[in-house]
């Protein structure tokens, strides 16, 4: 069914490739990473002017100024960058989503829920009032630049968006007649929340989440870029960090590959998750899912009708115009 849309298919394939590659890099690096990060390449033996080798068959992404194989470096950064994206977006989703559910569903005036949701929303407002990137930079600056500080800074600035998103969806869904009908049938509030509200907001939230992974990566790289130049060797293998270092030390006119390939890695990852998110939207929604299946030749049963014979006096009565 994913094949129905070639872009969706591309996104799906890319995400699978990225994840498989990341797992391989962690489990058996020798398969995809020809040179370890700390290992000097053969390039080191050539004269210093040739240390920055342009892409070649031996070094497909070229080498950097210390003669490290750039392809190895980019691949080594893959698991870390993917994990970072998933961790930050995932934490924000769980934290912000849970708070958003509470704030959206239990806000009847005069209840404890109303107080809780007011507290949640005002806290959210405080965080949203800061430009998020600046706030994250400030937190990192205060805590010192390391991986944990960066993760904490991004999760802290990321969750309020999920509160807003989830609360908005809950508010829209909880007044729909099918929720009221469930209540009128005696369905409990928690079950209404789980079966009718969460299931219906899952689609936009999951789509936002997958799109968000790309954004997180870019933001992480940005912060890493801002602080990265200050990092002493050996550099942690991270795409944003690479960009930052190379951009300072190696003008793009001299060694374009040093900028191009880490940037391409970020771009491809963000694009893959964007396309994947779009496709997920279609798959998650029964309306478009059925359409996708139908486009493959499986037809659903036609809708029922007992048209063409309006029976009884109501035929005129309901259609007529009064006494």
């Amino acid at each position: 069914m994913l094949r129905a849309n070639p872009l969706t298919f591309l996104g799906f394939v890319l995400v699978v490739l990225l994840v498989v590659a990341a797992v391989l890099v962690v489990l058996s690096p020798q398969l995809l990473v020809p040179y370890r990060a700390t290992q000097e390449t053969k390039a080191y033996t050539v004269p210093p002017t040739l240390l920055r080798w342009p892409p070649s068959l031996v070094h497909p992404f070229g080498t950097d100024e210390t003669s490290f194989d750039l392809y190895s470096e980019v691949m080594l950064a893959l698991p870390l960058d993917l994990a970072i994206g998933l961790f930050i977006a995932g934490s924000a989703l769980l934290l912000g989503g849970a708070l958003g559910l509470v704030a959206g569903f239990w806000d009847r005036p005069g209840t404890i829920g109303a107080v809780a949701s007011a507290a949640i929303l005002r806290t959210t407002d405080v965080f949203l009032a800061f430009p998020s990137l600046l706030l994250a930079l400030a937190i990192v600056a205060a805590l010192g630049f390391n991986l944990n500080a960066l993760l904490l800074a991004l999760v802290l600035t990321w969750w309020p968006y999920y509160v807003r998103l989830v609360r908005g969806e809950v508010l829209a869904i909880r007044h729909l007649p099918y929720v009221t009908a469930a209540r009128a049938a005696g369905v409990g509030e928690l079950r209404i929340l789980g079966r009718h509200v969460v299931r219906n907001l899952l689609e936009p939230v999951v789509v936002y989440f997958t799109l968000d992974i790309g954004t997180v990566l870019v933001s992480f790289s940005t912060i890493s870029f801002v602080f990265g130049a200050a990092i002493a060797y050996p550099r942690p293998p991270e795409w944003g960090n690479m960009l930052s270092t190379f951009q300072v030390n190696q003008p793009i006119t001299h060694a374009w590959w040093l900028i191009a390939f880490p940037a391409l890695a970020i771009f491809v990852t963000a694009l893959a998750f964007s396309l994947f998110g779009d496709g997920l939207r279609d798959v998650l929604d029964p309306r478009t899912r059925r359409a996708l299946v139908q486009s493959q030749g499986v037809s659903a049963a036609p809708p029922p009708s007992e048209l063409a014979q309006p029976t009884g006096p109501a035929a005129e009565s309901a259609g007529g115009s009064g006494p």
Partner: protein, 371 residues
């Protein structure tokens, strides 16, 4: 009227408090409220259909929601089978809910887009079985039960695994009916069940409702704008205006010989097929006045061509209409204006009688929450 009504409301009221404005807070005035339903006393007999008509914002839907305990009443009582149910809470309320089901106007929003037909219809059955302490039926059993009910509402039994969006408006409304009937309720609140459907489908749904009522002996509260639907399906009809019942009685009595000036206007405003009368309409001038803290006196007085001083002093009580049993009307001047047929008012629209113009300009429409 028989002595034992299925459901009876006594002076049932619902106010929606408005948030206090800055001025009100500053002057320490109490917050104002929208009086959506204002001391309504109505009764439904078992197996009877009560039509509820009135323009938008008259509190029809709010009244339906009060009866089905989807809103909590501000004051007044609801007796179901002689039992006060206005204060039921928790599991007792949820178990009681099987008695009253609701069908909504919006055929799209009424059905969860992520659930299959059988899941939609099975949910009330499953929940109510659980509340009664019974073991939850298995998936196969539940599907079989749902499959058996689908033909009763005119759906093919093989659509169990379809989604709501695969049906037309009429098909969706049938799924809503199947869901409402699934727990064998004693009363169904039909909130504009046919307004969103085209005319031939409206007729099918109404016929289906009447058939099901005959077979099962349940009562309907039919909330609608559609006077023709009420005439076809209802036994009695209540006319609401600004949260109050102005007239109630047998369908023929109320629709053919309306007593209250508002009912007359409503009947006269219906479009006609007779071209000679097409432009001669008895119009009520002005918008429906606000429901926010209404003044005492007949709610219709500002727009009523017959309003006199006593109309503006106190709320007119609902009292027997002259010459008809079981026909109640809330009009001080019922004896004087009752005999004037709506058609007579049509002619007078050409040269309006003095006092037709509303004495008070409408201060704006109430919120959509009460429509």
């Amino acid at each position: 009227m028989s002595p034992e009504p299925l459901v009876e409301t006594v002076a049932l009221s619902k106010e929606f408090p408005l948030p206090r404005t800055v001025t009100e807070t500053f002057h320490r005035r109490p917050a104002r409220a929208v009086h959506a339903v204002d001391s309504v006393s109505l009764a439904l007999q078992p197996g009877e259909t009560l039509g509820l008509i009135g323009e938008s914002g008259s509190g029809k839907t709010t009244f339906g929601w009060l009866l089905s305990r989807l809103h909590d009443a501000t004051s007044g009582e609801i007796r179901f089978d002689g039992q006060e149910i206005g204060r039921l809470t928790g599991a007792a309320l949820r178990a009681w809910r099987r008695n009253v089901q609701v069908v909504f106007q919006d055929p799209v929003g009424s059905l969860d887009p992520r659930l299959k037909v059988w899941e939609i219809v099975a949910e009330p059955i499953r929940v109510q079985e659980k509340l009664r302490g019974g073991s939850s039926p298995s998936r196969g059993e539940m599907r079989a039960r749902v499959q058996a009910t689908l033909p009763q509402v005119g759906l093919p039994p093989d659509c169990l695994d379809q989604y709501a969006h695969e049906f037309s408006g009429g098909g969706r409304q049938r799924i809503s009916l199947a869901r409402a009937f699934s727990v064998d309720p004693r009363l169904i609140v039909l909130d504009e069940p046919t307004s969103a459907l085209d005319v031939s489908v409206q007729a099918q749904i109404l016929n289906r409702l009447v058939d099901l009522q005959r077979a099962r002996g349940l009562a309907y509260l039919l909330i609608t704008h559609n006077v023709a639907a009420v005439r076809f399906a209802a036994d009695r009809v209540a006319v609401m205006y600004l949260g109050q019942v102005v007239e109630v009685g047998d369908v023929r009595a109320v629709l053919d010989a309306p007593v209250h000036p508002y009912t007359k206007a409503l009947i006269a405003a219906l479009p006609r097929t007779d071209p000679s009368r097409r432009h001669a309409r008895y119009r009520i001038t002005g918008d429906i006045p606000t429901l926010i803290d209404p003044k005492p006196g007949c709610r219709f007085a500002p727009r009523c061509p017959f309003a006199k001083e006593p109309c503006r002093l106190a709320d007119p009580p609902l009292r027997p209409a002259p010459g008809a049993s079981g026909h109640l009307v809330a009009c001080v001047r019922a004896e004087e204006v009752g005999a004037i047929p709506p058609s007579a008012l049509l002619e007078s629209a050409e040269a309006p009688p003095t006092g037709v113009e509303p004495a008070v300009a409408a201060p704006g429409r109430p919120g959509s929450s009460v429509s």
